[in-house]
């Protein structure tokens, strides 16, 4: 029996509606293996690659280079040798009917909503079908929910996914003053309670990792799994310069050079990413909030938070992912990783594996909460 698989224009981020085919990395008739990068697509926000979802032959290129097409459009067909040209033609013809059959809003874009909590508001972006279990995505210092551009939509194919702007970031209101860390944890817990009843699968990056560890410790019965990406709190080392320079950067060029340190490949930085970061940095109250958060992350002698003790007592599965070229929060010593956590190191990636190696991160997240 023949196997025919579609290569489609993916949805990178909840606001993406179309993409431009900029390069096929495999020619028609060329062999492909599952996970191989086969297609480069440009959007108004990012340029990224599409990986093959199946092994076989790229039997047909449907969208040629230079073509702009909506999300979900059939870009090409991977099939085995048993598939006849007639079967592939029929597959392509059937695909035209599937486009636009989704139940998303106008243009396929979702919009965030604001949750009122003690001391302010928390901005959340929900995706995926209603379910008893929810994946909650928590970004790191200086990020926002768009950090999960390449993850939220992919995970939402499987279950409900809520991305959160931490207080002082994105469109959430700032929290500062004493006990800022505890206030942030409380605000996130309140927002999550409002939008995600049932079991939680926490996925958190960097500073968000400490927030997730605190939530998992506070509510062990509610948390089904924990996936931490380059979390703070396992070792003492980190680049405090990054925190200081990030807060000081008031203009685009300055900020762009700071954000480049997050990536092994600095070309991943887009103007949209820089502009989005500047937008929340310029809100009144945010610089003070960021300074207070930075002080809870690191001081002159290194990291302040410690989550190892919290993680080792958790009953749920814990996965820790790290890029081997992380210059912000360096990989901890093996003795600093709790015994109950599975550590996976991703090669050629900096502090943002969820953007630089999104497929590997998505696979690891799914694998972790299947253990939960």
């Amino acid at each position: 029996m023949s196997s025919i698989e579609a290569v489609t224009v993916p949805k990178w981020g909840m606001t993406m509606t179309e993409g431009k085919i900029t390069q096929w990395m495999v020619g028609e008739g060329g062999p492909v293996t599952r996970g191989q990068e086969i297609l480069e697509i440009e959007t108004t926000k990012v340029t990224n690659v599409v990986e093959a979802a199946a092994t076989g032959t790229l039997r047909r290129i449907v969208l040629n280079e230079g073509t702009t097409a909506p999300v979900g459009a059939l870009a090409g067909v991977i099939a085995d040798e048993a598939a006849t040209p007639e079967e592939i033609d029929a597959f392509i013809a059937s695909y035209a009917d599937r486009l636009g059959s989704g139940d998303e809003g106008e243009g396929g874009a979702s919009v965030p909503r604001t949750i009122t909590v003690d001391g302010g508001t928390v901005n959340v972006l929900e995706a995926g079908p209603e379910s008893d279990e929810t994946v909650v995505l928590l970004h790191g210092f200086g990020g926002d929910l768009s950090t999960w551009l390449f993850n939220q939509t992919a995970l939402a194919d499987k279950m409900r996914v809520v991305a959160v702007d931490l207080p002082g970031h994105g469109a959430s209101s700032p929290i500062a003053g004493e006990d800022v860390f505890l206030k942030i944890v409380a605000a996130v817990e309140a927002a999550v309670d409002a939008v995600a009843p049932g079991k939680l699968h926490l996925v958190a990056h960097s500073f968000g990792g400490a927030v997730a560890a605190a939530i998992a410790t506070n509510r062990p019965s509610r948390v089904g799994s924990l996936t931490l990406i380059a979390p703070i709190g396992l070792s003492r080392q980190m680049s405090r310069d990054f925190l200081v320079d990030f807060i000081a950067a008031e203009r685009r060029r300055q900020l762009s050079s700071v954000l480049e340190r997050l990536f092994a490949d600095p070309s991943k930085i887009t103007s949209d990413m820089v502009e989005g970061t500047l937008r929340f940095k310029r809100l009144e109250g945010v610089p003070e909030a960021l300074s207070a958060i930075a002080d809870t992350i690191a001081d002159d002698s290194g990291q302040v938070q410690s989550i190892g003790g919290q993680l080792k007592d958790l009953p749920c599965p814990v996965t820790i992912l790290w890029g081997d070229r992380d210059e912000i929060v360096p990989l901890p010593q093996s003795t600093e990783v709790p015994a109950n956590a599975r550590l996976r190191i991703i090669p050629d990636v900096g502090h943002m594996p969820q953007m630089e190696a999104s497929s590997a991160v998505n696979d690891a997240i799914l694998e972790t909460f299947q253990r939960g």
Binding site: T67, T68, A171, V274, R279, R282, L283
Partner: protein, 335 residues
């Protein structure tokens, strides 16, 4: 994030800053929106609905309607700024700036320089500009090149609701005279605008779109035209970057030069008349500083060197179109 119109964004900025700083006052014609003949106050919210609610919130001591005498009230505003207030003066149509140019050009713009830096002039002059509203030749010009030419003035031309709010707050807090120009056809455009206060520094362009085949530099409302052109170009396989300078004085030369050096092909879109304009100024800058990076001549898409026509079909033809930008971009990408 809340969706708000350009008009609402400006109104929020005025409300916020007048509430925060008691030194901020406003003056201009019909600011209180319909004051006069029938005695109704704030009937329209100002001639374009931007100042609605300010009279109720801050009272007639701080929101002053003036006679139709721009020379008088712009001069009064400049004097008030020198003495410690932070006035916002509204010229309904920028076309009438001519009658008070002595106060703007010969007085306010020069105070800091002539008094050896000891005098501050925190004056904002808001005015509408631009074609498309069927307002005739004397109410539709894009006169920002004139102000950009004058040392001592800062010139702000926002193109989005987000920028309108952040740049107006920055303008009110600035210690130098700022000419703040609002395109009449942008007032109803809608975009993300945070509820809270924020400022955008002057002299920092916005990269409205990343691209690699051609760079479109667009001023004010022409950013919308450039975006429409970029979408059309994308369907032809041409990737266009768009830069909105946001302020023409100071001008973010670094960003313009960086993108020109990387892309090498430039189209400048400007609604103003083409002679001695911002478009020609930027073109000269790029030709001077990065000529070797240019892969093709710089193309200018501007209004003709003519007054704005009143006949609707002629006025429409006067305004630079997306198709004209596409044509210019295509001609240098495919040459």
């Amino acid at each position: 994030m809340a969706q708000k119109s350009f008009r609402q964004a400006l109104n929020e900025a005025l409300h916020f800053e007048m509430g925060r700083d008691p030194r901020v006052i406003m003056m201009g014609e019909d600011l209180t929106g319909g004051a006069g003949a029938n005695g109704v106050k704030d009937a329209w919210g100002g001639p374009f609905g931007v100042t609605r609610g300010l009279l109720d919130a801050f009272g007639p001591e701080r929101i002053r309607d003036t006679p139709i005498s721009e020379a008088a009230f712009i001069g009064a505003a400049a004097g008030a700024a020198l003495t410690g207030l932070r006035p916002i003066a509204e010229i309904m149509f920028v076309d009438f700036a001519g009658v008070c140019l002595d106060q703007i050009m010969n007085q306010a713009a020069k105070f800091r320089y002539m008094f050896g830096g000891r005098a501050k002039t925190p004056l904002v002059i808001r005015a509408t500009y631009g074609a498309g509203s069927r307002s005739g030749s004397q109410h539709t010009q894009a006169l920002y090149p004139i102000f950009t030419h004058i040392p001592g003035l800062k010139v702000v031309i926002p193109s989005t609701p987000y920028d309108a709010k952040g740049l107006l707050l920055q303008a009110i807090r600035d210690d130098d005279p700022v000419i703040f120009l609002e395109h009449k056809m942008l007032y109803d455009t809608v975009g993300d605008v945070p509820d809270g206060a924020y400022t955008i520094p002057f002299g920092e362009a916005r990269v409205a779109r990343d691209g690699k085949d051609v760079l479109i530099i667009a001023i004010g409302r022409m950013v919308q035209v450039a975006e429409e052109a970029a979408r059309k170009l994308a369907s032809e396989g041409i990737s266009a970057a768009i830069i909105d300078p946001r302020t023409t004085s100071p001008l973010d030369e670094d960003t313009l030069l960086d993108f020109t050096e990387t892309i090498g092909r430039v189209v400048i879109v400007d609604e103003a008349n083409p002679r001695c304009s911002v478009a020609t100024d930027i073109s000269a800058l790029l030709a001077d500083k990065c000529f070797d990076a240019l892969k093709a001549p710089i193309k200018l898409v501007t209004a003709p060197h003519a007054p704005v026509p009143y006949a609707p079909n002629l006025e429409d033809a006067y305004i630079p179109s997306a198709d004209a930008v596409v044509k210019a971009a295509t001609s240098i990408v495919k040459r």
